[in-house]
Symmetry: C2
Amino acid sequence: MSFSPLLQQLITALRCLPGVGPKSAQRMAFHLLERDQQGALTLAGALEQAIDKIGRCGSCRTLSEVETCEICASTSRDKGMLCVLESPVDLFAVEQTGGFGGYYFVLGGHLSPIDGIGPEDLGIDQLLERLRAGEVRELILATNPTVEGEATAHYIAEQVRDLDIKVSRIAHGVPVGGELEYVDGGTLAHALAGRRSLI
Amino acid sequence: MSFSPLLQQLITALRCLPGVGPKSAQRMAFHLLERDQQGALTLAGALEQAIDKIGRCGSCRTLSEVETCEICASTSRDKGMLCVLESPVDLFAVEQTGGFGGYYFVLGGHLSPIDGIGPEDLGIDQLLERLRAGEVRELILATNPTVEGEATAHYIAEQVRDLDIKVSRIAHGVPVGGELEYVDGGTLAHALAGRRSLI
Ligand SMILES: [Zn+2]
Ligand SMILES: [Zn+2]
């Protein structure tokens, strides 16, 4: 016996969610159909709206449903500080610490020659253009403390070498091999405060 | 700092899924937006189609997108055996054991006066009507081995007392307080084979 086609289709579709295996997808499908049909429709609508409307901020490349995100649109932050991150969720994690008052730039990943991800995919040209405009005094490289994150940070540092900009890397405090998203606020604040100069 | 309205709406909507807390909803939302937009749209479509098209089988009340489900439509099963279950996922679990060749009736829950769930909400009238038609020789009550499941089984047994039908309850083997959905196939097959007569 197998599930009916539409039920099987729903179970399969739920597996696109990270951390959801066959058994939990099955449990989710039955739960929605039997106990929360309204929740299922609300979720369907939220998914469609999010995919349709959420794009990237033209300035920092974080996820945003408006052309310029709330942070980039703010005029009360320090234009001299720019923090480079791998992903929007890292931006949220750093912002949550309350320990950084500058602006951000989100790469949307890290350099990965094996996956064909080069500087152009990470908006590094856009980043360099912004740095050449001259307002940024310090560039904080807060890519993940993984092999790829370190390599990406060093690549960017190399590109910036000729500009009169201090380049720093977030300090120890972030566990090696970890991902910023899972680091607690205190550790992250400490890592930012203790950043060291790269060039 | 908070997430943009549409992102927050998506994170909130994902929490309707069982077992998904705020942190995993956040991770799921970012994953879909950053890495699997196609998966998100497929999921939205699958949810809408499922809610729109999947109803209940007119005969056994299990989830079905056709008027009469595959099992009820089958003519090769034993019309003398009817197994009563709390939910469609339990039907799937019993069917998976391969140890039962009769038909099913799905209550869609258990009696729960505190939640206002009475016999009429569980289709017990429809069940009795079917039993009065005379084809069923044995009624197997396979509600969950919880307090509510036992009470529901005993309520149904009482209603059937005057009919010439053997009424049995699935046997030990199902852990007390557990839910059928999580019982392995072997245990479930054993529990069915060892069912005892109630009246
Ligand atoms: Zn921005
Ligand atoms: Zn049916």
